[in-house]
Symmetry: C2
Subunit: 280 residues, 2 copies
């Protein structure tokens, strides 16, 4: 069984780690960054490196590149694959990709997914086993994928330990704007605001663990995130408007000395903890 | 040696845990919340509960209440204490408290400090040993404290494992607005923005570890934080303006499709990681 992983970074590398010990799977890595391939080979994450022209021989293709590269690659891949090959993508945004291939003659060999798993670090050197264990795997437009191929995909997700959730592409993109994309932006902008002061005096060394936690996502890869912001621009704009409105309202209450109201607001927000804990 | 801890929460309780085994220290807890005292007694964090009227007998008073209660309590405490008692406060804001007692006849028995240590949880049930180990302890207006009392304070901070840093009160408050208070507000407002959507559809259960990390501080105690926001209103307003400006600028770039610029901006912000790691 020839498994091509296109994009051997954190996600592709972690999937590879979980699949490489299956005896009938040959894991073949493709990455435009040759250092990623070199690392993955040395670390035993992949069996060998491959080339896009060989994918006619592929049984399974896992597309784990940034979401703009996926737009570029998926039609090319579908054109090249044989009639029994399954192609799965793992990007954070789904609308543009799904609509791009909606009328493709090989649409039923493709499955659009989005795993709620990742780290602020990128690259195969951060790949780990069990990255996807007990994590949600969002599956879009399930009916558009050939039944036998989807069953195979499910068995792979099962092996990775994922919890399946079904959602339409635009629903994924709207929801992710709030619970994933916005938190990356708030974190990046917090980092920017503090760095602007840091230019003239050292304040970052006074930061405690709370600050560390809040800016953790500001370490994320620009190459991965700029494409997500691009594709989900409209939804993100809406979440940013909501967020900025709340910040302005907070500031207004602060200036008007409405501290009891701010306290009540914070008490309400504290309830998020209960919701987050309920899901653990 | 009678040590009164006024406010037996996370900070007071953690200090108590580190000091209670010193054989000549009797740790006496005072807290308006009787459940805190009950917990601290049951858990062996304090030797006994006390009353504000006994503090004439105190050798050391650790004031670990919210910063507005500190404003209310410090003059009362200084009035009651004997001439050799040392009083130390541990609040996040320092300007208002220091200026309040600047001409107090017992000013030289008081030391104003701010430990860069804490958690999003509050209460003695979260108190731990070594909370302050290798953490920065900011000390303000060091020259205003009597030399023998300050030497004693240093020996206590030394026992807690703290790293001393000297700073004027307004400098502490300005710096903390950026590296501590702002991150609490960004986190609370992110929580608020997402909870507003959560009212009509469940999206929080789709959040990954990145979101968890970014909203961690939204669990913080409103009773502790509303007073900090009140006292540091002017500095916080400035940081909020900076932050909102950056968010609006991000949105503008997004709408104008300036993704290369956004990518470069994110690359610059990534450098924060190096600065944070350098300080570890």
């Amino acid at each position: 069984m020839k498994v091509f992983i296109i994009g051997v970074g954190l996600i592709g590398g972690s999937i590879a780690k979980d699949l490489i010990n299956l005896e009938d799977y040959e894991i073949i890595g493709i990455d435009k960054n040759k250092l990623n391939i070199k690392y993955a080979l040395n670390d035993g994450i992949i069996n060998r490196s491959g080339d896009i022209n060989e994918i006619i021989k592929a049984d399974l293709i896992l597309l784990t590149v940034d979401v703009e590269s996926a737009i570029d690659l998926l039609p090319k891949i579908l054109k090249l694959v044989n009639n029994n090959c399954l192609v799965i993508d793992f990007g954070s945004t789904k609308s543009k990709l799904c609509s791009l291939v909606s009328n493709h003659p090989k649409r039923n060999q493709f499955l659009a997914t989005h795993p709620i798993a990742g780290k602020e670090n990128s690259g195969p050197e951060y790949a780990i086993n069990d990255l996807f264990k007990d994590k949600i795997q969002i599956i879009c437009e399930v009916g558009k994928t050939r039944k036998d191929l989807f069953d195979w995909a499910k068995s792979i997700f099962n092996r990775l330990g994922m919890i399946l959730r079904y959602m339409e592409p635009d629903e994924n993109d709207k929801n992710m704007a709030y619970v994933s994309h916005l938190s990356h932006i708030t974190s990046f902008m917090l980092g920017k605001t503090v760095l602007e002061i840091e230019k003239t005096k050292n304040i970052v060394d006074l930061a405690g663990s709370g600050f560390d936690s809040t800016v953790r996502l500001a370490k994320s890869s620009p190459e991965m995130w700029a494409p997500i912001f691009k594709q989900n621009k409209n939804n993100i704009t809406k979440t940013l408007d909501d967020y900025i409105k709340n910040l302005k309202d907070f500031k207004k209450k602060l200036l008007k000395n409405e501290f009891d109201e701010l306290k009540n607001q914070m008490k309400e927000i504290n309830k998020l903890t209960e919701i987050l804990n309920r899901n653990k």
